[in-house]
């Protein structure tokens, strides 16, 4: 049966059609709608934007493209600043996740098999609770009369409660906490496959353990590092909930700007333009990177 399936091009195409169809329906079509909206202007109506095609006179509809939204993004420094600050927050969070996640993944990969599975379960366990609930839980921990402050005061380590909630610290903590598994899992998957005899060979050739890590393990885990960093960086750029709930009121994130434009100002076209720009900024480097990786694979 399987042989029949793989031999027939029809069978193969059918199998491939499922993910394609899925992506078309739930990614490409919505994106095209967003793209369409980004070229409209607001109007007080339902939906709150102008149509792209107008039938004013004649048989053929007239295409109306408003580029004002994109020009507006360039004109107002708020958007650039928000984008820049989002990229910065995402970059710092990704770096922190990497610094924390790499040793954890490394440690897990070198454990006994039984321990590995238990630890893997622990890494995945938080996903069993809603993401929002976990962020709320951090609010309970971090607030002025929260668990941490109460404990520290009870131990007489501090007199005044530490202001942690609504700070950058809390925001970073929240992002790193939430996205750490996305860093650990691809790293672990990569490191677990490493051949331990390579490190023995390095030691045998006179290489001290730390140098062996730098010259063997690290380069060989580069794919895992890149995968993990992307899985953390991309969603972190557009992160809205964590900065809103844990971060300070002054934290200017592109996700928040988008939210405000969409819900507060009801400026759907501008919000769409922000979304399109964000997507381009994130997707282009990924495509470039993949191109690069394909090339190196072909060469090697």
């Amino acid at each position: 049966m399987r042989r029949l399936f793989s031999r027939l091009p029809l069978g193969r195409n059918l199998v491939l059609a499922v993910p394609w169809l899925w992506l078309m329906l739930f990614f490409l079509v919505p994106f095209l709608i967003v793209l369409k909206i980004s070229f409209a202007t607001t109007q007080l109506a339902q939906p709150p934007y102008t149509p792209l095609l107008e039938w004013t006179e004649g048989v053929f509809p007239r295409l109306v493209l408003h580029t004002a939204n994109y020009l507006g993004l360039l004109a107002d420094s708020l958007y650039a600043a928000a984008l820049f600050s989002s990229l910065k927050v995402a970059a710092v969070s990704t770096l922190l996740c990497l610094l924390l996640g790499y040793p954890m993944a490394y440690g897990m990969a070198r454990m006994d098999r039984a321990w590995r599975n238990a630890l893997l379960l622990l890494v995945v366990l938080p996903f069993w609770t809603s993401f929002l609930l976990r962020v709320y839980a951090w609010m309970g921990l971090l607030r002025n009369n929260g668990l941490i402050n109460n404990l520290l005061q009870w131990l007489h380590l501090i007199d005044e409660p530490l202001v942690m909630l609504q700070t950058n610290f809390a925001m970073y903590l929240g992002i790193v906490y939430s996205y750490l598994p996305f860093m650990i899992l691809p790293l672990y998957a990569n490191l677990e496959k490493h051949d331990a005899t390579l490190l023995e060979a390095a030691a045998d050739l006179g290489c001290r353990p730390f140098r062996a890590f730098l010259s063997i393990t690290l380069p060989l885990s580069m794919r895992g590092i890149v995968a993990g960093c992307m899985l953390v960086f991309i969603p972190a750029v557009g992160e809205f909930v964590i900065p809103r709930l844990l971060g300070g009121t002054d934290s200017l994130m592109i996700g928040r700007v988008l939210w405000d434009e969409f819900f507060s100002n009801r400026n759907w076209p501008l919000a769409s333009a922000v979304a399109v720009c964000l997507l381009l900024i994130l997707v282009l480097p990924i495509l470039l990177f993949q191109r690069l990786q394909d090339d190196t694979e072909k060469h090697s």
Partner: protein, 362 residues
């Protein structure tokens, strides 16, 4: 001359399992020493202790007079060629070979020059820029060898060096290995389960069984004068006859073996009590096959050919004696075509010279 490597009473336990059991062994400078044994006999563990990947539970290892206790692998004057070769997949051939020299902090020109010289020795000069996965098995093996040898180690450890190569390439590489060893004068310690590999490579062989060294000797000694039934059986093929010692004189031994119709006469003495149970080991190629009864009263038996395997250079005959015992005999195919070839179910006599049998007491 003081031994170059001194292994004294070394034991290695993993939990309750004794991998290496009280091994004492001296290896001289410039030797090719083969540790030979089946899987799980402890030979690899012993090798890994020489490399420093495992520490002995008890005993002492000295290399060139220096005690190796507590010396990590990266500080030992030892390099190893791994069974899987363990080439660094993200580095080119050149970078792989240069890796060990870079750790020593040598100057770039010197590294480049030594790498080039070594790649020329293993005939891989044209492949310097390739990555390991672009090489064939034999080429990878040579990269691994070059990477280990370029450091000019006092001692090179080789873990099943030819295991992953096909037969033709193995033979070729065996001779290359010996040439390189002679050229550079490095001491080799080789681990292998393949007796043929051990025979062709080694100057001396140490046969291991269940964590112990059972016998040490040159390939010829091990083959012709095995000390125990295990060694006799492990190295090559052998016919073992259990028997009772009838006479034990300084000049000869007479053994009565129930499976043979005539006693076994061996032309040397063994100093054991008459009546003791002993085994006579006779190699298949040392037995003659004839149609006529051989002269003499000893060292003979008659039977029927039950099977013939034509191997090209030799033929293997399985002869069933009248006692029911199957004896393995090999005869060279000296002639391309013989008129009176032996055939299945033919009645034959087997016989052997008085110096052919080896008497084993354990």
């Amino acid at each position: 001359m003081a031994p170059y490597i001194r292994i004294a009473g070394v034991t290695k336990k993993f939990g309750d399992f004794v991998a290496v059991n009280d091994v004492t062994l001296d290896i001289q400078r410039g030797e090719i020493f083969c540790l030979l044994g089946g899987s799980g006999c402890g030979k690899t563990t012993l090798l890994r202790m020489l490399a420093g990947f495992e520490m002995p539970t008890a005993g002492r290892i000295e290399i060139d007079g220096a005690d190796m206790a507590g010396v990590p692998p990266y500080e030992r004057p030892v390099n190893m060629m791994f069974q899987s070769y363990a080439l660094f997949p993200h580095m080119t051939v050149e970078q792989n070979v240069a890796f060990g020299l870079r750790q020593e902090g040598l100057a770039r020109p010197e590294i480049a020059q030594r790498v080039k010289a070594m790649l020329d020795i293993v005939k891989l000069g044209d492949y310097a820029r390739r990555k390991p996965h672009q090489l064939s098995g034999g080429q990878r093996q040579r990269v691994a060898l070059a990477r280990a040898l370029v450091k000019k180690p006092k001692l090179l450890l080789l873990d099943e060096p030819l295991g992953a190569l096909d037969k033709k390439l193995r033979e070729q590489t065996q001779f290359e290995l010996v040439n390189i060893q002679e050229q550079l004068g490095v001491t080799f310690v080789i681990v292998t389960h393949d007796q043929e590999e051990a025979m062709t490579l080694a100057t001396r062989i140490g046969v291991m069984n269940q964590g112990r060294i059972v016998q040490v000797g040159t390939p010829r000694e091990i083959y012709e004068y095995p000390g125990t039934r295990f060694v006799a059986d492990f190295i090559g093929n052998v016919n073992l006859f259990e028997g009772r010692l009838l006479q034990d004189e300084p000049g000869h031994v007479l053994i009565e073996a129930p499976e043979l119709e005539a006693p076994i006469f061996v032309g040397h003495g063994i100093s054991s009590a008459p009546g003791a149970t002993v085994w006579a080991a006779i190699r298949p190629e040392k037995i003659h096959l004839t149609r006529e009864p051989p002269p003499g009263a000893n060292n003979r038996a008659s039977g029927v050919i039950k099977d013939i395997a034509y191997m090209g250079e030799v033929s293997i005959y399985l002869v069933r004696l009248d006692s029911g015992r199957i004896v393995r005999v090999s005869q060279p195919n000296s002639f391309r075509h013989a008129d009176d070839q032996l055939v299945w179910d033919q009645r034959v006599w087997i016989s052997w010279h008085e110096s052919s049998a080896v008497v084993l007491t354990s």
